[in-house]
Each structure stands twice: as structure tokens, then as C-alpha cells.
Symmetry: C2
Subunit: 105 residues, 2 copies
Amino acid sequence: MGTSKTEKFTKEQNEIASIAKTLGHPARIAILQHLVKVNSCICGDIVDEIGLSQSTISQHLKELKREGIIKGEVEGRKVCYCINTERLDIVSTIFNGMFKRFSCC
Amino acid sequence: MGTSKTEKFTKEQNEIASIAKTLGHPARIAILQHLVKVNSCICGDIVDEIGLSQSTISQHLKELKREGIIKGEVEGRKVCYCINTERLDIVSTIFNGMFKRFSCC
DNA sequence: TTAATTAATCGTAATATTACGATAAGTTAA
DNA sequence: TTAACTTATCGTAATATTACGATTAATTAA
């Protein structure tokens, strides 16, 4: 165990949960807020900004990338990260829709 | 480790992450959707609906209650669960605000 | 009272997450 | 080339999460 029984749930339920899980760590929220503020920056800047180790930040970036919420572009020996606006709009729509359905009727 | 370093983040970042984490399991999304559909129901009905064991559902309900998203009212030997609309409105506002700040500028 | 019902909690196993240091892999500068 | 730099990955430890069965606690029905 320790594993969610995803087969018991709808695709929508699993998708919402997966996104929420990715947003479910303060470092990842902080990373997103920082990227919004500076528009785009390299990994090292995020390490400085957040104050966790480089390897830990790299893991968080990987998770955000896995969910499609950010993009990373290699520029020489640096990697420039930014928000994936298209995906974040979809995520926003999914969550707004969910909350709307929750709050009425 | 295995523990988030919450002291490195703002109150807002921790709060958003905490809510998202609670929403980050398909069973909990399914429970919320079911409660919205039937308005309110007893724990046993949720167990039947979701198809996980009674103790597992009880744990998920506890987590949703901890975050304030649902309420449980004891009625004799049964416990009637329902959405905490006030709290969910706040949660909705927090997330809408976040996504709004993410998508523009 | 006793038995049945309902839900919470306990104990536990399996797996996931978080975090770090060390290392690898790649790029650039000297 | 060599050295420095940048980031990803590996290995690992600590803790958290998920799930279940068994038990407990409380209420109701017989």
C-alpha cells in the first residue's frame, strides 16, 4: 500500500487529484510564484530564492514539469524555466469548474 | 526527512499547499463530488459509493474535516457528512486568486 | 440486558515523498 | 585540454501516506 487505488476512480477525479497533489507542496507554490514574478529564470536562481538544496529544487521542478505546469529550456549549460501558460490556463479552468460545481445547487 | 520545510515558506504558500494536498487524492475528490450530488449522507453511504474499506474512508473524511472542507454531524449512531460551503467558498477564492495572478502580467 | 449497527481509532505493511550530499553529464571559459 | 560551472540523477535516510483488518466506543433495537 501507500499507493492510491486509481482504478477505482474516474479519469477526471484522478486528473484533478494529480494536479492538486503537484500543487500540494509549498516549495512548488513558491517556485510558481517566483516564475510568475520574474517571468523566467534559471534553475540556480530558484535555488537561491527558495533556499532548499539544488537537488531538492531539481526534484520539485521535475514534478512541476511532469504535470506540464512549467517548461524548461536548455540554454548552454543553464536551464531556463518558465510557466507553461497554456497548461496553467487549462488547470485553472478545471479547478474553477470544480469549485463552481461544488458551491451551487 | 519526508517532512516539508514549512518554515522556509510564507503562510500563504503553506496554506495553499495544505489545501491542495488535501485535494490531492482521487478518493477525496470523489467524496466531495458525492457530497455535492446527494447534499449530505452518512459515512456508510460513502463507503458503498467509493468502494474502499470503511477505515480508509474514515481516514479520508478525517483529512477533509481537518482542512475544514466538510462537516460531520453525529446523528444517533450515524454520522452525517456534508460540504462546508463557507470554507469551500474561501478555498475557491484562494485558488481563483492564485490562478488569476498566475495567468496574467 | 444483549445483540446488532455504525464509525473512529489502532496497529501494521507497503509505498511515496521530501530532503540532502555526492556524483555524473553536459557546456563554457581559460 | 583543463577547469569551472550548471543541472540532473543516484543513493539514501527520515517521515508521510495509503490501505486494510481488527478492535473499540457509542448508540439503538430486540
